[in-house]
Symmetry: D3
Subunit: 337 residues, 6 copies
């Protein structure tokens, strides 16, 4: 049986149970691999005074509820990272001030801008990866154990880099990070690389994982989305792919399956998108036609997956699938192997 049709229904999610995962059952008659939360957007515009838009943001379960690191663009248009909490992952309380990251001397650092955070838990510590404006756009890393104090770790790479995403566990002694070398503007190219580190500070052993294209929906560039999700079949990666049109770029969401041991090996990769801008909150806003996934929650016993995504660079939205549904779809729409 070829990979194009291989049965994947026995794929198991690693990780524990998350009974209070935000969830809606698949709508009747649904033919799509993922479905939108019907009360989207989860976070609307002007969420608190001074906030203009809250979108491309990361959520993790913590202490029975949910914590998030949110990209908040102020009225001046400059984005910083804010902390928020929620009981159900749907109604959020977000702090009006950015998180304070302390350097090795315990001094609060100043940032020129911070955006598109991911939060990854490794061995009990939460690591925040974001696009950091200090010394160019590159991948900043900070850590926290309590979402109260945040320690600076490093700028992982030289500029220009975006969409850095750690794997949620170590590979032997190494941390692994997906990332996308970029340029200093609205980069018109971009492939996903894998880089390795023993200490989250010095990085090397870079490998090309996936190139943009040739499918048109991801013809311009691609970038890793939420932290890869461990499954029995491999690392499930949601990513964004970008189409070029005469009226700008369209960001859609796709999925790939990476080898458990060597995630530079791509086992499966969706031929088409999983989700593409169609809902009003995805098509209208400051940057129309953007779906940008940044975080995923999973509930291993049920196989449920909830993906948070930025919509139109304006809203935070949510969509759902199950590991079975998704892996079946991926197997049928696989263009690799």
């Amino acid at each position: 049986m070829s990979s194009k049709t291989k049965k994947s229904s026995f794929t198991k999610l690693a990780g524990g149970a998350l009974p209070n995962i935000p969830w809606q059952d698949e709508p009747r008659g649904n033919t799509e691999p993922v479905w939108r939360y019907d009360a989207n957007p989860v976070i609307g515009r002007r969420f608190f005074p001074g906030a203009d838009r809250i979108y491309n943001s990361a959520v993790v379960p913590f202490k029975g509820g949910f914590h998030g690191i949110f990209r908040v663009d102020g009225r001046n248009g400059v984005p910083f990272l804010h902390h928020g909490t929620s009981k159900d992952g749907l109604k959020w309380s977000i702090e009006p001030k950015p998180i304070s990251v302390k350097d090795a001397q315990g001094k609060a650092m100043k940032f020129t801008y911070q955006y598109d955070p991911r939060v990854i838990k490794i061995d009990g510590t939460f690591y925040i990866n974001w696009c950091n404006g200090n010394v160019g756009p590159t991948i900043g890393i900070a850590s926290t154990k309590d979402f109260k104090s945040y320690k600076w770790v490093s700028n992982a790479f030289l500029p220009f880099n975006r969409n850095g995403v750690l794997f949620p566990k170590k590979f032997g002694k190494d941390f692994y990070m997906l990332n996308r070398p970029s340029d200093n503007a609205h980069t018109r190219f971009g492939d996903i690389y894998l880089s390795k580190s023993r200490d989250l500070v010095d990085w090397g052993r870079h490998e090309l994982v996936m190139k943009a294209g040739p499918a048109w929906w991801e013809g311009v560039k691609i970038g890793a989305g939420p932290a890869p999700i461990e499954t029995s079949a491999g690392w499930l990666l949601f990513y964004h792919g970008v189409l070029s049109t005469c009226n700008g770029l369209v960001y859609s969401m796709g999925a790939a399956l990476l080898d458990l041991k060597d995630p530079a090996k791509v086992l499966m990769r969706s031929d088409g998108y999983l989700l593409t801008p169609e809902a009003p909150y995805e098509c209208r806003g400051i940057v129309p036609n953007v779906i940008f996934p940044c975080a995923a929650l999973t509930d291993a016993p049920t196989g449920r997956i909830a993906v948070y995504y930025g919509a139109a660079d304006t809203y935070t939205a949510l969509c759902f699938t199950t590991v079975d549904k998704l892996m079946d779809w991926l197997a049928k729409n696989n263009r690799v192997g």
Copy 2:
């Protein structure tokens, strides 16, 4: 009487009766030269599994109903041509697989992409013109008599060319085709040329028919739309014109009247657009603000004209006019002669 005010109400449509032409009467109080079908879009998104968007497509009457060659962009964003049928031109059944075009040896050809088809009936044969990705974007031609088997004819021109549209009858021994020389990307220029051929294979005797601009609504580029419609006054050509804004391009529809014997002569040309993006399905979608006409149906006894157009590179839509209404408007808004 100057051409600017000449009476055109006696213009007759050539071609026969098409009593089942899709149709809606002009809305009361209408002041526009064309009016939209109120149940637009005719073809919505995700029309069949695997199809993302069906738009810029061509429809012809055949055997009492309607057949169409549709541009279908799959989930991977790559467009191919699909065949569809309809009894009323409104509700369509579209085949999930692209049409199979056979080469001279009867072998099914492979295509890298196919888009923006037109279908033109000449002497009982239907010719399909489209933008063909094999050997660059240029004008592919195939023929069919039954919409079951399709024969490859030629790539009419060298790259780069788009919007090739045959005239629906021969001029002596010659086929005539309107077309637009382009470049290898989102061409920021474009004029309409006329080219001639005895056999649909070798083309020459190229003439410039209409240049883009200077009116701003068509200041960037223009391209022929449906096959020219024969009338007693000349060939009626619907075409698209493109405006440049700081947020991208806007595609509107205009009209021109070409000389019956020498269609490189422009008798009338609309000073402004006929139809410009305003409806939600024209303004929101993968490429906002696009109206792209590709096919027209006519009913000679009533003078009715139905124009199919792509909307926002996402939907197929329909609008209506009559030859009288249109020719009156064109005479009043003519900027030629």
Copy 3:
């Protein structure tokens, strides 16, 4: 007390009473410094036959009612200035023909295009400033006393210039004009300058007033909006600021306070926008995501301010504030001094 928190509630509007100023009270629970007219847009699309869109336009009180000079883009996409009148500033009657500007010899001038007018009353004469296509895009000036006859004054500057706006009173013997040096296309930069003249014909003594950025909402370029409003605290300037995104530009409205005697001195400047595209008529249209203020009405006794702005380069809209509300907000969100 630092400028960031200084109390501004005693600021008085200069100018007289305008009891019939268009007005809606602040909505309950409003937290924004300005609020939209709930029946926006004031002027919709296709307002009269031949008009496509009426937007970026200027309104002044005159003879108990309101007169306006409107940017009207015809169906051919080319803009010209039209005169309109209204009793309440909301329902408008607009002339289908452009205004006729006479040269020194009393001959009607021909214009290639005219757009983005402002109207400023100085010592009983109304001056119209607009972007004039004769001899490049630069600032044309004409005058009228009755909105019936219009006299040509000058092209104030060499090309390329846009967004020229006179101050509504003279400074000693001098007229002052804000303006924005530009280039010959969709300028990707732009700062506000001040220029001076004794006769509205010869201009010099140019000074840089405000630069674009570094805040992202105004990172690309800025341009003066309505004529500066005289207040006891300084000249209140509404202006537009432009954000760059991968899908185009976003135009928002900000405010600044200029020194009464030397308006090249910026006393206060909003750190973030006052109003950014959110309403459907601001986000959808020929140029999505544009708020472009061109005129303001004030009523000194009540402190009411009504701002007319172009929306999406498609509609004319209205928003409201009071001088107290605005100055308070500006003081709290000030990034200067």
Copy 4:
């Protein structure tokens, strides 16, 4: 024996003897496949009053001497085609007025510009191919039998096309022409295509022959040079290849061997250049670093080949090789087959 090393020393030039071919013996110690004429440039600057530069030009033997069609750029920088004669191919007499091309009605045509001519003799008629500015840059064709009267044949293709070069004999009933689809400026891409025609007027059956790159010396674009030279091994094609540097483009000369019967088949192609700009007249001039071959003379009995090339878009120069030398070199430096 692989094509990389195949012996080619028995290759014979077709065509007759040309005992007075311009010639210099290979310099002692030469290791290059071609060698420059040591009295280059053959035609210097300001050759006659009103002429600024004479370069990219074509030469053929005729009536015991040599005739040429020369690209002459006037002091105004606009190029036209001039006729010249020479006894030895080295000292030229060039007419100060452009050639007069007559249309079908015998009327002298007007041209906006004409450049980069080739002259090809087929069945006793000389055909001139050039880049013709009438109706865009495309390939103009004219014919002459005596270099006194010139008849217009056609614009072979739609714009944009450059470097059209006919084969010097027919293939059955067909004329074949190499050509390079281009854009409307300093085209940054370009591959060589083959097109066919029965009458030199209507052209079709286009095939891609050779693509630019991947070698860097020809990484940007390539274009056919002199008319292909018939040999017993295939059509010998000199062509130009273009390198991109941070200070502009570098044009070098390469060679390929095309199949005698089906010249869309490339039998051999040089891995590196034959000749690259080094001489002062190649490196300094209006366009530094350009070698642009346009014509070749051959003497079958001796195997001698003389190639005329434009140097720095400023001079006409000459270089030499023999068919044996060249074919040996090509066999050793072949990257095809």
Copy 5:
């Protein structure tokens, strides 16, 4: 007799005698309208310690010798204006420090950069025009009577402007200045405008004088060179015209004749260039292929004209002509009237 052939040999130079004008007689056999000084360049590279290149500079007769304002690019590449003196206009002594320009308060001003000066004597005062970096690239004006103290006059225009050149006498109460609106980089367009002022401070009444093109040698942009030279036939203007090639721009020198009373009227304009880069010092240097005239000396009794020009943005060079020679040539190569 049409202007194309009109006899101009009686044209007289205005201005007095300058017996020590730098001069070389026309070389025997010369067929060109101007001829180069055979000891060019007049000023070589690294003229004094700290100077890298001295080029685009202005020279005037003063007190029996010559004074100049020189563009000196330091080793850091930043240009400033330096004063120099010479007895014969050939051997120069240039001060190692930039000139000190005093503001109205007598304070020495600081400049970010200064380049491409012209010096024009009007009513006994020398005015320096240059491209001034304070507040954008625009035209700075300073005055001196003794080349010892320099007074700031104004920035004549808003940015972006270059190549501002005053006329050497007033027109009634008005100063006239030729200038070229530009953009903020290596402007790829540029026409010559005329602006007027009563006080050299406020400028207006702008008129378009000459547009670039259509001749290719001046197809990209044009700019006034030395101050216009008064003759009995009109103002003789040397200017630069710019050709675009795939390897950059080529600057040549042309000439025009402007109406004595209304210099916005062009009486004659050369169809081709007068002088184009050919000499080694014009073709090799920091910017190859640049001839940029900035100053002219005249001797009325003999009709001699000496033109100083920048060569390759690296050297100062000199060429010669006579008013008779030039006017004859211009009459024969005139493309106006």
Copy 6:
């Protein structure tokens, strides 16, 4: 005494004696901080069959003579690294085949291209840094002890990076490397960064060392040249700076002094260039106007420094200075501190 004038004549070169350093005494009357070898270029064009140009290359003393790693661009324009030897550093013998780099398994690696090598000796091992085309342009590292066998170390960084240069000794446990983040084409920006590593494989702790500009000679980008030279005053860094002109880029050489312990601290930096293209072999070639230093030899006892540089991307050239001369000059032309 301020840094601008501080005496530096007691600066000592670290490193040992190199009595056979290539050398020429300073020419009499020299006023420049460095002087060219009068027999430049050291390596001419077409140095061995198959080699087109040998330039940007690195030389080190080894076993009493000199060894080099040379950038050799073949006739196909693709660069690879070749090994060469010389007794005197002037006459070279270069191997016709690229060096063979072995991976960890001892297998010879394949490279798409290799260019701009530096060779740095650290603790007895020679490290080669170059711009490596495998997995994007980034910094490849290999090591050798004998210039016979070469071991692959790593791609130090993610793409896009160029001009990576190791320091010739370790800082505690760390290797330090200067480098320049770039983009995927002819990068129009570029600053020098410092990165650190414990094993030459994983790199981090990136710091910005020097930014391009504001001086115009280095306004576009800068890049480290030879390995930093240890002196008693600090690390002496030769680097290239790039000027933008309308006809392309100009590469000159400058110098800086970095702190011995923390080389991210810039102690001195030249305000202007040390050497700028003037010699014929620097101004004419495939890329005119390029001076690109890649290697330096020093002789501590005499203070002599010989710098190898690429000229016009075509030749290898040599220039000389002494540490005293240079430090004096740098102190006088210092713009830091």
